[in-house]
């Protein structure tokens, strides 16, 4: 018997019921992200048959694969965007979405993330940033705040975190936004925009991991982490007027870029047309 929650919950129609319940820990932000993604799909009235969702390895990779009911490709660690690139070239009319974590996409997969943004391929990436390697037991990540404690920085983290949204906006993406799991409605709106933008789009979601991060950093309750996000979030418009010192430890939220640039797969198809035309290969 399926517990009542699965039949009462309106977004359940988008989930692979045989894969439920999810493996996510209680209090994990992953559920919020899955909920926001399902709501965005619902509000846009997208047919899940027109979706291919790709993910890598780690807790956040599970959010959409296997749970989301679409064609789903659960790939090797860090490589989701490269797999998705092949899918998008093959299915240019489908929405190709990558949902994965910061360790997966920005650390081992940082190269693919950077180059997909540069290429401006029409893929939507939802990057769940919880500052930690959750599935492997709470080790330091390239996103872990300076000074935070993790299992591999038991005294304190002496490295500086990678600012993912800023980096990918600079790399050439068409759309970049950052929200936290405490900004659910803004998050849904941004996912909707990202899905509609023609080009590479990134929605970074700062998400709580009370089990592996919060517990070791004086925030063992999920609500404490959400309060931490709310207290330290700074809208991007305000952040522009602040000094780097003032922004230390803050989460800059909002839309970083929203622009039109030539998109990779359509350019590729345009090129093919030109070449075929040039060599007289088009059927007359």
């Amino acid at each position: 018997m399926m517990p009542e929650i699965y039949s009462k919950y309106p977004m359940v129609k988008y989930l692979r019921k045989e894969a439920l319940p999810t493996a996510l820990c209680p209090g994990c932000g992953g559920g919020t992200v899955l909920n926001a993604f399902a709501n965005a799909i619902d509000q846009l009235k997208l047919d899940p048959r027109d979706l291919v969702v790709v993910s890598g390895i780690g807790c956040s990779a599970w959010i959409a694969s296997p749970y989301f009911l679409a064609d789903t490709l659960h790939t090797t660690h860090g490589r989701a965007i490269a797999f998705a690139t092949g899918v998008k070239v093959g299915l240019p009319d489908k929405k190709v979405v990558v949902i994965s974590g910061d360790g997966d996409l920005a650390s081992i997969g940082g190269n693919h993330l950077l180059h997909a943004a540069r290429r401006n391929i029409d893929i939507t990436v939802i990057l769940v940033n919880n500052f930690i390697y959750g599935m492997t037991g709470g080790q330091v990540a390239p996103t872990t705040p300076f000074g935070a404690k993790t299992t591999t920085t038991p005294y304190r983290n002496i490295e500086h975190p990678l600012q993912i949204s800023e980096t990918i906006a600079a790399a050439g993406a068409s759309y970049v936004a950052r929200w936290t799991t405490a900004h659910v409605y803004q998050l849904i709106e941004s996912i909707k925009k990202a899905l509609q933008v023609k080009g590479f789009s990134l929605v970074e979601v700062i998400s709580q991991c009370p089990v592996q991060f919060g517990r070791r950093n004086k925030m063992k309750e999920p609500a404490e982490m959400l309060r931490w996000f709310l207290k330290n979030s700074v809208p991007i418009s305000k952040a522009k007027k602040m000094s780097p010192e003032e922004l230390e430890g803050k989460f800059v939220i909002g839309e970083f870029v929203n622009r039109q640039r030539p998109e990779f797969v359509s350019e590729l198809n345009k090129l093919i047309d030109e070449v075929q035309e040039h060599f007289g290969l088009k059927e007359v």
Binding site: P66, T72, T75, A82, H112, F279
Partner: protein, 396 residues
């Protein structure tokens, strides 16, 4: 649901672009043209010597055929993009050399586990590491077989000339499609850069195979089942509303992950092996010369099979009863035939451009009373007829 590359439009284009006849071309170009004839319409790669001309030829020719060339940020991304594209119905290929092949190993295992057809060309160069980056070698024989992790089967094909490469790459695609598996194409830097005569056939002379697609909803719901008993499940392509779930983790027949039940892992991995074992007729191929009355046997592969044939011909002129056995599919090794031949000869020589790799496979199938000797050369220069002939005389 279609596999791109087989439409009448494609036949028309191939015929218009590549007139049948004799061409003077590099081995690398022969591989590229063979792939185009086989229906490859997606190439993702990263440049590396001595394989680069394959990428260059594909970049130039694929758009003419409406196909896609992608230069990825690295080798790992290249094979990842190939897997993604294969699930949308493309026949896909990449080409690399030793170091790039090492980087691709993890996703090669992913392709084995997810039963994704693809062709991976490894133009072997002299190693370890950067070694002699521009020189040919045959040192990746075991990297092809054992490079990726876990218990996995693999099929590897190795040609002996430019002309052979044209036909063998087509065969590699056919094996990949028929068995829904990655196929490694073990080429080498010497053949890759040798220019020689290659005959391009008419499209009609080329036999092409396509992967099995699900015939009904029921088959599509079991992307990793075995409805036809041959170990090869039909492949439901992405974008057709089947909600297929593909994962490199241990999965059930319906694709859903189950890494906790020993029986599920056992059933899946054994089927992957059985699929390759049971379908030997699909990929097993070897060439024999003068083996009927041979007393001495030369076993050689790839580029080295050519001087080996020259040496066998000369030895025959001298009255030495030499035979030559050339596996064309090197993994799984044609062990049964090797065993039969091994019983009939008193000595076996195995020339190869390494310090002894295929010889270990040969050893598994011959008795101790046969004299088994490697003829090995490294340094980036191929073995010569004289060098092999000298060894034949030595055991005659």
């Amino acid at each position: 649901m279609i596999i791109r590359g087989d439409e009448p439009e494609q036949i028309r284009l191939l015929r218009k672009l590549y007139k049948p006849g004799n061409y003077f071309m590099q081995g690398n170009e022969a591989v590229a043209y063979g792939a185009l004839f086989a229906g490859c319409r997606f190439y993702a790669g990263y440049p590396i010597t001595p394989s680069s001309e394959i990428a260059e030829t594909m970049a130039r020719e694929l758009p003419k055929l409406g196909g896609y060339y992608l230069q990825m940020e690295d080798e790992i991304g290249s094979i990842a993009a190939m897997v993604g594209a294969s699930w949308t119905g493309f026949k896909v290929m990449t080409a690399t050399a030793g170091p790039g092949f090492s980087l691709m190993q993890e996703n090669l295992g992913y392709a084995v586990m997810t039963e994704t057809p693809l062709v991976l060309v490894d133009v072997q160069r002299s190693g370890p590491s950067t070694g002699q980056a521009t020189k040919g070698a045959q040192g990746d024989f075991f990297q092809a077989r054992w490079g990726t992790h876990g218990d996995h089967p693999i099929v590897a094909v190795s040609p002996t000339s430019g002309q052979d490469a044209f036909w063998e790459i087509i065969r590699a695609f056919n094996i990949a499609e028929r068995l829904r598996t990655p196929v490694v194409f073990l080429f080498d830097g010497v053949l890759a850069h040798t220019r020689e005569l290659v005959k391009i056939p008419d499209v009609d002379e080329v036999e092409i195979t396509y992967r099995k697609l699900p015939q009904n909803e029921e088959e599509a719901k079991l992307p990793f089942g075995d409805p036809h008993g041959d170990g090869v499940p039909p492949m439901p392509l992405f974008g057709h509303g089947y909600f297929t779930h593909v994962t490199g983790s241990t999965h059930k027949e319906n694709g859903l992950r189950d890494v906790y039940t020993p029986e599920v892992h056992d059933r899946l991995v054994r089927r992957l092996h059985r699929k390759i074992e049971k379908n030997r007729h699909v990929y097993e191929k070897y060439e024999e010369h003068f083996t009927d009355d041979a007393e001495i046997l030369v076993v050689s592969w790839g580029v080295t099979a050519r001087p080996a044939l020259g040496a066998a011909l000369k030895a025959r002129e001298e009255g030495i009863k030499v035979g030559l056995f050339v596996p064309k599919t090197v993994h799984p090794f044609p062990g049964e035939r090797m065993k039969e031949l091994g019983k009939r000869v008193r000595a076996i020589l195995v020339p190869e451009m390494n310090l002894g790799q295929m010889i270990l496979e040969v050893q598994r199938f011959v008795n101790d009373d046969v004299l088994l000797k490697g003829v090995n050369k490294i340094g980036g220069v191929p073995l010569t007829v004289e060098e092999i002939l000298r060894e034949i005389r030595g055991v005659a």
